[in-house]
């Protein structure tokens, strides 16, 4: 197993979380195990940490358990017959493993679900008001202006029905709506899903700006590993329900394994054919 300096292969079984996890982190997942329907084991001892003010990318292929991780963090598992059966999740030093979703939102965590999930029959403005549900009316009206300032496009469309916006506009609305809860931690589940490359760039630009300007902590899930590692400070790579590799984003980008497997680049920087990748995948697992 070839790893460059600083990038450590996952130590999912190590006590007290993986090597990249510090107790001072804003969000800490410690050996989390998630089971759906009492039988389907999806997360098998996952540990990760998100430092305050950082952008952390969680990468991995389909079915690796990325979305499940975010659902476990935001408390949505019970609504999908899932359950955290082992390990713990803490936010700002407080154990939240079995807390109600609404209490988590009050404590400062916001999730932008995969596929945007805007309220289709509500107007843009009403979507944003719904996002501020946990907060009092006066505070949130000033936030509304802030969101409009950040996303001027939304301000122009405030009376439009959200279901008829384009994909990129819906993604902006979903992010704006999540911001209305005044989160300390913003979790994004595949913000690039179904968007044209230029729009993906725009969305990631917004994420970076939010982090720079307001110090918002971000945990982002992506299939688009290249884009995510460009904006992130730190990256985790998941496979079959646990972390198999982690490290600073800059180093992950240069890691030959990541390059070959997730960025689709060979050692020479050339694209590999599907057959080679498939062969490679069979030959080499980090497990």
């Amino acid at each position: 197993m070839s790893t460059t300096a600083g990038v450590t292969p996952g130590a999912a079984s190590a006590p007290g979380g993986g090597p990249g996890v510090k107790d001072s982190d804003l969000l800490v997942l410690n050996n989390v195990e998630v089971i759906y329907d009492d039988v389907i084991l999806v997360l098998r001892g996952l540990s990760l940490g998100v430092p305050e003010g950082g952008i952390v990318a969680l990468l991995g292929s389909n079915g690796a358990g990325k979305s499940t991780t975010l659902k476990a963090v935001s408390g949505l598992l019970p609504s999908e017959r899932g359950e955290v059966t082992d390990g713990s999740i803490s936010f700002a030093g407080e154990d939240i493993t079995r807390m109600e979703p609404s209490d988590r939102v009050t404590r400062g965590m916001s999730l932008c679900m995969e596929g945007r999930h805007v309220f289709e029959h509500l107007s843009v403005a009403e979507n944003l008001v719904a996002g501020a549900y946990t907060r009092s009316g006066k505070e949130s009206s000033s936030d509304l202006e802030m969101v409009y300032e950040f996303f001027p496009k939304l301000a122009d469309m405030r009376a439009r029905v959200a279901g008829y916006l384009s994909g990129g506009e819906q993604q902006m609305l979903a992010i704006g709506r999540a911001l209305m809860a005044r989160p300390k931690l913003l979790m994004l589940d595949e913000p690039s899903l179904g968007l044209a490359p230029l729009l993906v760039q725009e969305i990631f630009g917004y994420i970076k700006r939010l982090n720079d300007e307001t110090g918002l902590t971000v945990l982002v899930i992506e299939q688009n590993a290249r884009r995510a590692l460009e904006v992130a400070d730190h990256g985790y790579i998941m496979e079959q329900g646990r972390i198999v590799l982690e490290g600073p984003a800059a180093e992950l980008r240069e890691n030959p394994d990541v390059k070959e497997f997730y960025l689709g680049l060979g050692d020479e920087g050339s694209r590999k054919s599907y057959r080679d990748v498939k062969h490679y995948k069979r030959r080499k697992r980090w497990l």
Binding site: S102, A130, T134
Partner: protein
């Protein structure tokens, strides 16, 4: 002309009450996807609770209304918490059977405690009549229209402007996304049932005042179905249009054609609408972007 105006006022009054009753039905369907067959019994229970407070306990009008609202609130919460919540995730047919059972239960409870005889309740709305464009129309019907209009407007403003109203619509749209906003879906479900019970109480009291406090109130509640099918199961404005249409149709058919036909005509409309426009006039079409 005089007959026309009279039928118009009677029809609008019936329609306004129907709209109120249907509003509760639509709220429950929209927020929780439950088809509540007990909506008519909610009217019945509301009217009898008001009768208990106003006539049997001799409370002043305002206090009796307050008692009615409190009991309706408790009824809504209890029904949601102990009857519908355990049914979440069950087959829609099972849930429909449960609400049918609930309607029978409520009906039986009212019969058990109050008997089947007509209760006499002093008129709340003034009984006089007024001259209106040369016709003599009953004052209480006009007041029913006015009160229902005020209540329906208040509900509409609640859904458009208030935080909880918007949250209710958000839950109706996308429950999971609403949960990520910190909206408690259970609390919204309870709120939907409470609002349905309260709007049914108002409808029940108004209806009892222009007719009588008896078991027939629940039968009137059955007319909710043609109303919501016509207006669209999930449309609040649809309940108003549907309610007024059915109310007017009934009165005009009864006045100009035949009173017997008038009791059938709402259900004829129901069948026709199901054939032609199954989502109703204002029913939400699924938004699909291409």
């Amino acid at each position: 002309m005089s007959t026309f105006l009279n039928l118009l006022v009677y029809g609008l009054a019936d329609g306004a009450i129907l709209a109120l009753a249907a509003l509760g039905f639509v709220l429950i369907y929209k927020a929780t996807s439950v088809i509540n067959f007990a909506q008519g019994e909610f009217l019945l229970v509301g009217a009898y609770m008001f009768y208990t407070a106003f006539v049997m306990m001799g409370l002043p009008l305002i206090a009796a209304v307050a008692v009615g609202v409190v009991v309706a609130t408790i009824l809504g919460v209890v029904v949601e918490r102990f009857i519908l919540r355990p049914m979440i995730g069950e087959d829609p047919i099972s849930i429909i059977m449960v609400t049918i059972g609930l309607s029978m239960l409520l009906n039986a409870l009212v019969q058990m405690f109050y008997g089947t005889s007509v209760k006499s309740q002093p008129a709340i709305l003034p009984r006089g009549s007024v001259d209106f464009l040369g016709a003599t129309v009953p004052l209480n019907r006009l007041l029913v229209i006015l009160i229902a209009a005020v209540v329906l407007t208040a509900f509409t403003i609640f859904f458009r402007r208030s935080r909880h109203g918007i949250a209710m619509r958000a839950v109706a749209d996308d429950q999971q996304a609403a949960m990520t906003m910190g909206i408690s879906v259970r609390r919204i479900f309870a709120l939907a049932w409470v609002l349905a019970a309260v709007s049914a109480l108002i409808a029940g009291v108004l209806l009892a005042d222009i007719s009588a406090v008896d078991q027939n109130l629940a039968a009137f509640g059955l007319l909710v179905f043609p109303v919501v099918i016509l207006g669209g199961l999930d449309s609040v404005p649809g309940t108003i249009v549907g309610g007024l249409t059915i109310g007017l149709l009934k009165q005009f058919v009864s006045g100009y054609l035949d009173p017997g036909l008038a009791t059938v005509i709402p259900y004829v409309v129901l069948v026709l609408i199901l054939l032609v426009k199954p989502y109703g006039i204002f029913g939400e079409t699924r938004i699909e972007r291409v």
